[in-house]
Amino acid sequence: MSHDQNLAIFRGRLKFSSNVSKIWGVLILLSIVTTVEVVLGIIKPRALTHSFFLGMKVLNWIFIILTLVKAYYIAWDFMHLRDEKSALRRTIVWTPVFLISYLIFILLFEADYVFNTIHDGFVAWDF
């Protein structure tokens, strides 16, 4: 935070008067997102658990997207990446994003293959 603090979130649509009020604003946002997650997790609406996108329940996609939203605001406002130079921010964010995406891709495909082998193959597992 060696520079002036950027006090706007939502691409400038919501501006705060001070850093402290921005912190409370982000807390309210994170609490709302968490509440939505918990409520959806308790009700589990049938429309969302029985529809699929790319082989995964729509409800699970919603949870993952809301998690990334929370992660964004924690990193940008609590860890004040918003106020860092863009080169530092990109180094910190894109390196793990690239590596983790690759890890997810390769391990989940392999796991799906193992699942099919157990499920359709001649391996007894339920005895």
């Binding site: 935070m1 912190i23 193992v114």
Partner: protein, 324 residues
């Protein structure tokens, strides 16, 4: 790009004293650490994903595993872990407020907010310990088959889960504990379960209202319930009683679930513990006026980054263990 272009300054950049990317050495290093630690946690979480995709049709349902709230009886999935999440986010907020107060050189405010952060961390780690204890102690008990599959019990009348104590018979079996002087071969025994396999089997046969629930998920995403005939057939495969969870046996489902639960939440809990220790050091340094003398509170900011990172990881653990 303003951060990396150094050619237009017209002065030598080789003499040191320049801060590339506008961040001090210490701040760069804590970010290096956080990125590498994030990759470690990703390794854990993605291998959890691997295990889960591998056992896609028989993974335990988190809502049925974590159902307890301290001081309350009954079935309340999600509420306790939502409380823990909120506590951790709250302590993150007090940490940012401490960093903010540090930038304004307000010593007493830094001390106050650091104290709140430490208390938040202690509440979280206490809740985590309670969650572990409840998970290890177990809920209903189950039988394990030779193939390592779990058989759980359901009361046919109510449709609710049945605990072993609800139907197992007390056969007054005097179990002789195997001791090293009694035979040529000695294997250390596990702690005995509250009912023997025989007592559970006899109780099951005597009680026609009890049905077996297997691990396999049906089309509705619920565990498969066998009828009485199938149940009587299935229970012959049972080889032992399982109560609670450890790294080898797990009454809630596949042992992999318990293994990943212990390793991932344990590794995260260890980070929270370390964070609390570092926060306490910073708290006392702030009281002693170390940072007043130094002229800046950057140390609070660096420790804050670590504390927020712990919060960030929990957001992902929360999603992948309790929601998805």
């Amino acid at each position: 790009m303003d951060a990396t272009v150094t050619t237009d300054t017209g002065e030598s950049v080789w003499g040191g004293g320049k801060e590339p990317l506008g961040a001090s050495y210490g701040k760069m290093m804590i970010w290096f650490f956080i990125v590498s630690d994030a990759l470690t946690f990703s390794g854990f979480l993605v291998s959890y994903g691997f295990a889960r995709f591998k056992f896609m049709d028989l993974w335990p349902i988190a809502d049925e595993v974590f159902t307890h709230v301290p001081f309350f009886h009954g079935n309340y999935p999600m509420y306790f872990v939502a409380f823990m999440t909120f506590i951790l986010i709250m302590s993150s907020v007090t940490m940012v407020l401490a960093v903010d107060a540090g930038h304004k050189m307000k010593q007493s405010k830094v001390v106050f907010y650091m104290l709140l952060t430490i208390i938040g961390g202690l509440i979280f780690i206490g809740s985590q310990a309670w969650e572990w204890a409840t998970f290890i102690k177990g809920d209903f008990g189950a039988l394990e088959t030779k193939g390592g599959r779990l058989l759980q019990f359901v009361d046919a009348e109510t449709g609710q889960r049945a605990a072993l104590a609800d139907f197992a018979l007390d056969l007054k079996e005097d179990r002789v504990r195997h001791e090293s002087n009694a035979g040529l071969w000695y294997e250390r025994e596990k702690a005995p379960t509250s009912y023997s396999l025989n007592e559970v089997l006899e109780g099951f046969k005597a009680n026609p209202n009890i049905l077996i629930r297997t691990e396999v998920l049906n089309g509705e995403g619920e565990k498969t319930l066998l009828d009485r005939g199938e149940s009587l057939d299935k229970i012959k495969e049972a080889t032992q009683v399982v109560e609670g969870a450890n790294l080898i046996h797990n009454e809630y489902g596949t042992p992999m679930f318990a293994d990943f639960f212990f390793f991932i939440t344990g590794f995260h809990g260890f980070h929270v513990f370390t964070g609390i220790m570092i926060n306490i050091i910073i708290f006392f340094n702030a009281i002693l006026g170390t940072y007043e003398k130094r002229g800046h509170y950057e140390m609070v900011e660096k420790v804050g980054l670590y504390w927020h990172f712990v919060d960030l990881v929990w957001v992902f653990v929360f999603t992948f263990f309790y929601l998805v």
